[in-house]
Symmetry: C2
Subunit: 361 residues, 2 copies
């Protein structure tokens, strides 16, 4: 076989993903026909992240270019979807120093275009990771796990025995934060929404290493502050992580101690970040934002460092299996239309059924 | 005359100031009878600040002790009201190095108790200032003018030609900020509430040195952002100052550039600080608080430094006369009851008639 049939999810204009995405298929050289500096990749897994969707909608500040040069054989200017994923090296040109067939890699930067069956890349754009770690961990380590790690380590110098508080405790990032904190001896208070099967969720997060799990009702109650003070034995909570906004972040912020930092990385309630004035003036609250794309763009060495630390956590077994659904595509057995449909179904499911990851054979 | 009859506004329990304040009168030694380290002061002027009122209400985090030792001759534990003021030295003991009769001083720290006719102090607790500057400037430089100066200089390194934006542009601090910025070549956008005599106010603030004055209606309009971009010629606004909260600070924050700092020092609307999530994540907004009491307590040298800088501004004539009402008390001619009544009337007027300053003869 002298070529490989590659497929990629592309879009030529911004809009709702299920309206605008389509498959572009094109030929890539076989492993034995690569140029000196080329690396041929097969995609193993690529998650469907909210930020991928926002890119396609055109509402995300960082976006790949819509260009005729995005892929070979394009008939109109297009952008390739997807920012996160894990690939297997199928072949490497003679000038490629540190990658060989069978190695696993992840993109060094965002806007790579990971919703693909195969791709052609350059060694400098790839980060090698061990091909022995769980696939789901590999596929999601660059965004969710790295975000949790950076937020816990970059803003406040948390020591063993210190406390942080977060809302969205049941989110992917929230679960990662619980586990990373546990591994570092840092105590966590995680806020989750009330639900019929609350005890089940609390037990699950506690099993992951959560110190305490409270509901948004607890979070909204002024009296509950006393319970938290008993838990922390009067020690002040110096870091808050917010991905919800609205009244959730108001309640969370009231539990922070003097000189604390509140890091906002999402706004799932679609409501603004609402904080009592007195916390700013009398408790010296500092409220900042976190965007892994920008932080690692401004400091690329940070990306390699955090990946290294996250790999240590994964390899030591400190991170439990990821909650997600795997959607398998057998590239050789589907049409372009079926390739597109698989992604569309994944996008629909991601709205109601939790994290969706596409995997390829 | 061997003693001086001193009067002080005190309170023995927290509550609404007009309900709980009373006058304590007591004898102080005459200037010629002072101990070596004593400084005898006559109060020249003391403003009635919102934070003074909040202290008496018991809702301000920094408060003077309610103690039987606060003043000589107290019959019950009391605290002395007032944090800001300017005094004339009537006499100084033989060990006092740098103060002599006729000098002007201000308290080195908060919680001094300035709502008094006279007081006895120690040299280390006083900062000498020139006795040639305008009395109103002297009486208000420690809080309002110093706050404006610190907020403009401490958080963002504003250079000539840079921009900042503030709400409460017509407040005492807002007016000071306009003038200090003008003197430093920094451009200002000041937000004020709409009112019948708007043009008058805009003209007045412009005369003080305001680059632009806009209304809260302008601030709330998304379209108005374009006008501001034209004014700044695309230069980003790197500092915001907020003393209002609610929708005012939401609008203000949208006008800030990437990596800007928003400083909250008040909440006149009684509504929380409400900020769009996207500004934190995608524009790296940093929101912090400012409380001059805490900042200068943690770094006492900062207080002397800022007073020095503010004095330079006052002496060079860079700060216009302060908008306020002076309420004169002739100490020798009033009863204790009349002394109390003067303060109560000043407190009532301060709710509707702007800043009130008590002056003494």
């Amino acid at each position: 076989m002298s070529t490989i049939r590659a497929r990629a999810i592309v879009y030529s204009k911004y809009g709702e993903p299920i309206d605008v995405i389509k498959t572009h298929s094109y030929d890539l050289p076989a492993p034995e026909s690569l140029k000196d500096d080329q690396v041929l990749l097969q995609t193993l897994a690529a998650p469907l992240n909210p930020s991928d969707i926002n890119q396609i909608q055109g509402v995300y500040p960082s976006r790949p270019p819509i260009s005729i040069n995005s892929l070979p054989g394009l008939k109109e200017a297009s952008a390739v979807s997807g920012n996160e994923g894990v690939f297997k090296v199928l072949g490497a040109g003679s000038a490629v120093a540190n990658l060989k067939p069978g190695d696993w890699v992840i993109p060094h930067n965002v806007n790579y275009g990971t919703w693909t069956s195969h791709s052609l890349s350059a060694e400098k754009d790839l980060l090698k990771i061990p091909n022995t770690i769980p696939l789901k961990q590999a596929a999601t380590m660059a965004v969710n796990t790295s975000s949790a790690y950076l937020m816990l380590t970059h803003f406040v110098d948390l020591k063993k025995g210190d406390w942080f508080i977060q809302n969205g405790g049941n989110s992917q990032v929230g679960r990662c934060a619980i586990q990373i904190a546990k591994q570092k001896g840092i105590n966590s208070i995680s806020i989750v929404r009330n639900r019929p099967n609350l005890k089940e969720l609390v037990d699950e997060l506690t099993a992951l290493g959560a110190t305490h799990v409270i509901t948004e009702d607890d979070n909204g109650s002024r009296d509950f502050g006393k319970t938290i003070k008993e838990w922390t034995d009067g020690k002040s909570i110096s870091l808050g992580m917010n991905c919800v906004g609205g009244s959730s972040v108001s309640g969370l912020s009231r539990k922070l101690g003097k000189n604390a930092t509140l890091v906002t990385y999402g706004g799932m309630s679609m409501k603004p970040v609402t904080l009592p004035t007195s916390l700013f003036i009398f408790k010296n609250l500092k409220a900042v934002g976190f965007w892994i794309t920008e932080m690692t763009k401004e400091d690329p060495s940070l990306r390699s460092e955090v990946i290294e630390e996250v790999l240590k956590l994964i390899e030591s077994g400190s991170l439990a299996d990821i909650h997600c659904t795997l959607n398998k595509i057998v590239n050789d057995k589907v049409s372009d239309e079926q390739f597109t449909e698989s992604f569309k179904q994944g996008l629909i499911d991601s709205k109601t059924k939790g994290k969706q990851i596409m995997i390829f054979e």
